[in-house]
Amino acid sequence: MIPSIDLVLLSLVVVLAIVAITVRDLLSAIMLLSAYSFLMAMVWVEMHSVDVAFTEAAVGAGASTAFLIAALSRTVRWEKK
């Protein structure tokens, strides 16, 4: 792996994780989670685990997001504080 790219990606991942759990708009949170998953997949490609990266991209960034949005479409979009 290449530490510099890794570090950048990973710090982005951390930032995305924090933002994803803080925003009150759940739709944004889900999209952020999707981005988070996608970045994670990139980290993994970079760590040579192509298989997992592949799956994470399909499942984490794809299917999970779709599920979450589907669920959101039948509940409420905003988190109450």
Binding site: D6, H48, S49, A63
Partner: protein, 132 residues
């Protein structure tokens, strides 16, 4: 001191980041009242564990590791493969995580139909009104 920092933190940064993300996810699961937020936390938590596993498989920057795909040319060039087993484990774990998410979302939707809210506190309040 600096040496220690380099050895314990910078050299193993992906482990530290994995722990950070884990804690973020854990915090969301425990502290957030919104059920969807809890699930987002769960996802983050699980991904952090996956990151941990993948980091285990990785053989570090010093060796020229490569993806564990069989090819004659690669072997002749003397590449070292990263350990494929954790990858396989994580594949299975991802399956589990998406299944968990699906069941949980189904529950959330049913709860919304039942209580009209996805905030934990409000649900508890409504339960109390129902007299349970």
């Amino acid at each position: 001191m600096l040496e220690w920092l380099i050895e314990e933190i910078f050299a193993k940064y992906n482990y530290w980041i994995s722990i950070t993300i884990m804690l973020i996810g854990f915090y969301a699961m425990i502290a957030k009242g919104n059920l969807i937020k809890k699930l987002i936390g769960l996802s983050i938590f699980q991904t952090a564990i996956f990151l941990f596993f993948i980091s285990l498989a990785d053989i570090g920057p010093t060796l020229r590791g490569t993806a564990p795909i069989v090819s004659e040319a690669m072997i002749h060039k003397g590449y070292v493969y990263v350990n494929p087993l954790p990858h396989v484990l994580i594949l299975t774990a991802i399956v589990v995580s998406v299944a968990t998410l699906a069941v949980a979302l189904a529950l959330v939707i049913r709860m919304y139909e039942e209580y009209g809210t996805i905030e934990e506190e409000e649900i508890i309040e409504k339960e109390r009104e129902l007299g349970v």
